[in-house]
């Protein structure tokens, strides 16, 4: 139990009074950063990084990683209240979180989201504590074909069971792929579909699309429907927390599934956003009442939040042990490590014991304190919905615009956000699903590079996707998930035909 000893030493490091203070400061800042869309954890950490250079590295990383936890928690708040994902990985949380808020169950949805976040993060830290060396080795198994297989699995687990008309899903997804293709093609180094406009060089950022499609689109829709929030009768009481907790116990299967998906996606490193989509897709697949998903099912909040946090937390493992960041925030933290004179890599665990175990201990404490902080604020957040729409709507639009601007400090992005807002409105009106578009936009780029890298490696032989047990297993699972619903609907069709034949 070498790890336990080291961990207790770590707690001794993290539990000092100044470190606890930095932890609380980091959490509060992180939650605020998470609430503002666009100003993500990565930006927040990058802005505050220089302030920490004069601090001791352990205190600095504790504060910065707490900003990261805080942002992970905070991302759920605007997704649930206003359908604006504060962070890319909270997109899937809006699918059921926002309908819940509209039904006046915002407090319940928030409690479920925060609790799931905590559970996901907690189990991921457990995995880091006891399995770090093993997991680090596993990440090395991942080359381009394996990455493509994981991305394929995400797509299949999510779209296989869509209840929207297949053609509309396909159309939305293709639009997403087309948007993802704009900008630099990393494999050939050529520009695509920029038509000579320098503004298009950087392509369409996922965050700007999401802020527009969801946030602005929703406001346009609400304006049409009569300038009022549907969820203003939200109950505001701490009792909700207890009641929701009791309800959450029955979703233990979803928790376990999402924790596994999340840890795996964080370590490989696939990232928190694909993990949240996969978590949501798998939960819907496994649920008995599939129809209730997307209409306000608490399980639809639990699944993506747990997966996102398990992934976000375990993403720190490949950063510490291999020096590859599993998320943009981890990339900025990586830069920080170098400046403090710590070289991330396989030797960090051996050479910098105090630092590593102090950090791991602070993950336990940070998440626990974070859960406490956000749960106590649930009633206040829910109360925001009582503010009259004409007052809050302009504020939301301003926050969206600031968010879109912050991503690349470009005014063109703010215009794009408005265009995406109109697109989101049209999608809602014409009943096109938005999730496939968003998924294609965030994963299309990555899936394309992995696929083409694999093709380069194999010199054009598709057999590379079944070249070893790992990639072959992932691909088989993906294809299976894609075909199961198709088989189901095929059987349904047969049965219906039989029934009509009997009638006839």
């Amino acid at each position: 139990m070498d790890e336990l000893n080291s961990l207790f030493q770590g707690f001794a490091v993290a539990m000092t009074l100044p470190n606890l203070g930095f932890m609380l400061l980091g959490l509060v800042l992180g939650i605020l950063i998470g609430v503002l869309p666009g100003l993500g954890g990565a930006n927040g950490v990058a802005i505050l990084l220089p302030l920490t250079f004069s601090m001791n590295p352990t205190s600095a990383i504790i504060m910065l990683s707490c900003i990261y936890w805080g942002a992970l928690f905070g991302g759920a708040i605007t997704s649930i209240l206003f359908n604006i994902p504060g962070e890319p990985w909270s997109v899937a949380t809006t699918f059921d979180g926002f309908p819940l808020a509209q039904q006046g169950r915002a407090a319940e949805a928030l409690t479920a989201a925060f609790t799931s976040s905590f559970v996901g993060a907690f189990f991921a830290v457990l995995a880091i504590t006891f399995l770090a060396p093993l997991l680090a080795k596993f990440a090395l198994e991942f080359g381009p074909p394996e990455f493509f297989a994981v991305q394929m699995l995400t797509f299949c687990s999510f779209i296989g069971m869509s209840k929207d008309p297949p053609m509309k899903t396909l159309a939305a997804m293709m639009l997403g792929f087309a948007l993802a293709a704009v900008g630099m093609d990393t494999v050939t180094g050529q520009l695509r579909m920029t038509f000579g406009y320098p503004e298009l060089l950087k392509g369409f950022d996922f965050l700007i699309a999401v802020i527009g499609l969801f946030g602005i689109g929703e406001i346009l829709l609400t304006m049409e429907e009569g300038l009022a929030f549907k969820g203003k009768s939200a109950k505001i009481s701490f009792k909700v927390v207890w009641n929701t907790w009791r309800e959450l116990l029955q979703y233990w299967r979803t928790f376990i599934r999402s924790v596994l998906i999340g840890c795996w996606m964080g370590i490989t490193p696939g990232g928190a956003t694909p993990a949240s989509f996969m978590g949501y897709g798998m939960a819907r697949r496994a649920a008995k009442d599939k129809e209730s998903f997307g209409r306000g099912n608490v399980e639809g909040v639990v699944a993506p939040e747990t997966a996102a946090h398990a992934a976000g937390t375990s993403a720190l493992l490949p950063m510490l042990t291999l020096g590859i960041p599993g998320s943009p925030t981890a990339a900025v933290l990586l830069g920080g490590l170098l400046i403090w004179g710590l070289q991330p890599g396989p030797l960090l665990f051996v050479e910098q014991k105090d630092f590593v175990w102090g950090l791991i201990a602070s993950m336990y404490l940070g998440n626990l304190v974070g859960l406490f902080v956000v749960l106590t604020t649930v009633p206040w957040w829910a109360a925001i919905l009582r503010i009259p729409f004409p007052v809050i709507a302009p504020v939301i639009i301003v926050i969206c615009a600031i968010g879109a601007y912050t991503v690349h400090s470009s005014i063109f992005d703010v215009i794009m956000m408005l265009v995406f807002g109109v697109l989101g409105y049209l999608f809602k009106k014409l009943r096109y699903p938005m999730a496939p578009l968003v998924l294609a936009l965030v994963l299309g780029d990555m899936a394309e590079s992995s696929f083409r890298q694999s093709m380069l490696l194999s010199q054009g032989d598709v057999g590379i996707f079944f070249g070893n047990w790992l990639v072959g297993g992932l691909m088989a699972l993906a294809i299976f998930l894609l075909l199961v619903p198709a088989w189901g609907s095929f059987k349904d069709m047969l049965r219906r035909r039989e029934a009509s034949a009997h009638l006839g």
């Binding site: 090395l140 991942f142 630099m184 520009l191 060089l201 291999l322 490696l457």
Partner: protein
């Protein structure tokens, strides 16, 4: 009496007028430090490091803000600086994409559009293989490539038609066979792909591969510089950076260094350039900077003024020649 008073007053006024002009220029608002690459890469690390030490040692009254503008292989960042003529509060750090991006994509910018400030350092390139690879020396590896079929050996690198692929072409020339070049997004990913044995070799910068080398996962074959590196402290159990032979000595005619230099917006005055040159000179004297240089085994050449501009012009000509012979130029 009166006259002298007036003369004194005139003198005083004149002195007041001259004083600000004689005093050196200084930033009056936060300086935007553009990185034409994503977060976590070599240029980003250096920019954030500079931001950190400048703040810590209070070398400047105004803060530095690092902004990543990586769109279009860095074109976004360069175009932004090019378009901010006369704004002295914006500087940019370069990678080789200063040359390669306009050549490969025909996006309209050139270093002559910007004002050169100073060369901070040059980044080295090392030919790496996995520690378990049968190729012990650069010669072994090149002769293995020669013996094998075209495209048998796989080289991973950062980006397409940029420095890593240019060096790959140089290695191909030495071996007379084609390599399969697989582009990845960042240097960290590239190093991990080699550790995981998904490719045969890389040309990572020292700082990108240092940790893996130190832990015995990678083997350094040769360095793409005219002379071996000067850093004699042991990094692995048996080797220091200075122990890596040059690629030239192994028969690979590849000499390539990447500019880590600073440019500012067009039409900057000599005063403004002088402020930044002075700032970076002060920074170079700090122990933190020296430590950073050693960790990344940088070539510590410092240049400014005409010497720097001449160097950049020569490097540009070298890139045009290399990219033309590799067929990477935009049509």
């Amino acid at each position: 009496m009166k006259l002298t008073k007036i003369a004194a007053a005139v003198g005083a006024i004149a002195a007041l007028c001259i004083a600000p002009a004689a005093q050196a220029w200084e930033p009056t608002k936060p300086v935007e430090f553009v990185v034409p690459a994503g977060t976590g890469g070599g240029a980003d690390q250096m920019a954030r490091f500079i931001q950190g030490v400048v703040t810590k040692h209070k070398l400047m009254k105004q803060p530095i803000v690092v902004v990543n503008k990586s769109g279009g292989a860095g074109a976004e960042g360069f175009l932004e600086v090019k378009g901010s003529a006369g704004n002295p509060h914006k500087i940019i750090i370069t990678l080789s994409n200063l040359f390669t991006t306009p050549l490969a994509t025909a996006v309209p910018f050139n270093w002559r559009d910007l004002t050169p400030v100073a060369m901070l350092a040059l980044d080295e390139f090392v030919l790496w293989v996995n520690a378990e690879s049968p190729h012990k020396t650069a010669k072994d590896y090149v002769s293995a490539i020669k013996m094998g079929a075209d495209n048998k050996f796989k080289m991973a690198g950062t980006g397409s038609k940029q420095e890593d692929q240019i060096i790959t072409v140089l290695v191909e020339k030495a071996a007379g066979k084609k390599l399969t070049y697989v582009p990845f997004k960042g240097g960290g990913d590239v190093a991990v792909q080699l550790v995981g044995k998904h490719v045969d070799s890389t040309v990572n910068n020292p700082i990108e591969a240092e940790a893996h080398w130190r832990s015995g996962k990678l083997r350094a074959l040769c360095v793409m510089d005219a002379n071996p590196l000067p850093y004699k402290t042991k990094v692995t159990a048996t080797q220091s950076w200075a122990d890596i032979p040059t690629c030239k000595s192994a028969g690979i005619d590849a000499e390539y260094l990447m500019l880590r230099g600073i440019f500012m917006t067009p039409n900057a005055t000599p005063d403004q350039v002088a402020f930044y040159v002075d700032l970076f000179k002060k920074m170079r004297e700090l122990p933190e900077w020296k430590e950073f240089m050693e960790k990344g085994a940088f070539n510590q050449t410092f240049m400014s003024g005409k010497e720097y501009a001449d160097w950049v012009a020569k490097a540009e000509a070298q890139h045009v020649a290399l990219m033309k012979s590799a067929g990477f130029l935009a049509k």
